[in-house]
Symmetry: C2
Subunit: 255 residues, 2 copies
């Protein structure tokens, strides 16, 4: 990985951003200024290699103006795994043009993308209001992650991407949000079988970055296989749990 | 039912409310002024019987100041089904006092409650931005509804509550939200087997009020049994679908 995360923590910890104007401090919007702040700090480390996901796509398609349409544009990606994680839908890609570029989209995989020497470092920023004991945030769809792992295995692609999470813990003070602490963790170093899947919340994996273990010692190939094993086991478990919890108790009423 | 919904539609259609100050018109917040507007109109019809859910609870507990604690307060409800739908959690109910009453809570079952002659008319307001083709909104947890049906059957309680939905269709014009149309529908008149359950969205039943069929001709007892039959069948279906869609495709990777 190219980003120096330890340095990033040092730069971000103790800094502050203005409180967003819109009233509430709940949910996604509140910490958003920190997202931009972290982006700027990473850009200082790697000015030519740091992008927003939509910026990267706009950049890629702009540099290849003769390549038109979804299919041809898909081929601009050397990597099926990267293509899967970063590209937009078929319609949107067909419609892309210099005059009609992509804009930020909430469910993009990466908040920040660092691209260097053919390696894609995907970074997602999670902001956390320390004055609330919030449930762990949505990280990524467990199904999307399974599909990514399958693609990596199918294509023997284990050394061209990473997924990292950066958590900014903030507090409100004097109309400012102050970063009290920051944490980072790398997905492929977390023990796959400990990942929690919230099935009722759009099958999202949920964790606080600061709580994520980093104990996985195997290769990325090993991680992908271990994750798929975990995911499939969890699907069966959930499938059975649904019947036990939601069907069985009501069966005596419907004879 | 005590509320005259046809009259309510007439009163609300064509009226307008100021655009909320906070920036976006997305999601829940945008239509909220209409929620209050509809509440006021119902209160005109039934001034002594119209409550917010939290108001009703505050009212009930205030009138019985000698009844203290969750267990005793639960017994203030004559009906297990109504208790199940309307009461707050154990901790919150224990902590309730005249100095520490309940406040509005987003996941309360009812936006509006009309209580008269021992009958509880639960009303939920859905607001809809006509300039967006939005997905059908969350209505109620399919599991909560199953639990309610089971309680109704267990206690032979089929004539003391109703659940109705009122949809306000609005458009933004000149800094105002204008109600172009309004619709209502009663849950116990909708055909149970047509109710759509979105398992990944917290198991919520989803529909647009204006699209809900009102073709069920049976009794409330019949409705409760038909709903449970539908719910249990859907649980089995979803449970099987999960294995097919999310487990099977990945099994070849994990041998």
């Amino acid at each position: 990985m190219k980003v120096n995360y330890r340095e990033l923590v040092k730069k971000v910890r103790g800094t502050s951003v203005p409180k967003p104007l819109s009233g509430t401090l709940s949910g996604h919007a509140a910490g958003e200024p920190f997202d931009k702040h972290v982006y700027n700090e990473i850009k200082k480390q790697l000015p030519k290699n740091t992008f927003r996901q939509y910026e990267y796509l706009n950049d890629l398609y702009s540099k290849n103006p003769e390549i038109i349409g979804n299919k041809a544009r898909q081929e601009l990606f050397d990597s099926p795994s990267v293509l899967f994680l970063l590209s937009r839908g078929k319609d949107a890609t067909n419609k892309w043009s210099l005059e009609n570029p992509f804009d930020e989209k909430q469910d993009d995989t990466a908040d920040i993308l660092v691209v260097k020497d053919g390696f894609f470092e995907i970074i997602d920023i999670k902001t956390r209001n320390l004055s609330k004991s919030a449930q762990a945030p949505n990280i990524i769809s467990s199904f999307k992650l399974a599909q990514m792992c399958a693609k990596m295995i199918d294509n023997h692609e284990f050394d061209n991407l990473s997924i990292s999470y950066f958590e900014v813990d903030w507090e409100l003070k004097d109309r400012k949000l102050i970063c009290k602490d920051a944490h980072y963790a790398h997905l492929f170093r977390a023990t796959p079988k400990n990942l929690y899947i919230n099935w009722a919340a759009a099958m999202q994996i949920q964790f606080h970055v600061s709580n994520l273990d980093q104990d996985f010692k195997g290769s990325v190939e090993g991680w992908a296989k271990a994750y798929l094993k975990h995911f499939v086991a969890q699907v069966y478990r959930r499938s059975q749990y649904m019947v036990e919890k939601y069907a069985k108790p009501f069966e005596r009423y419907i004879k």
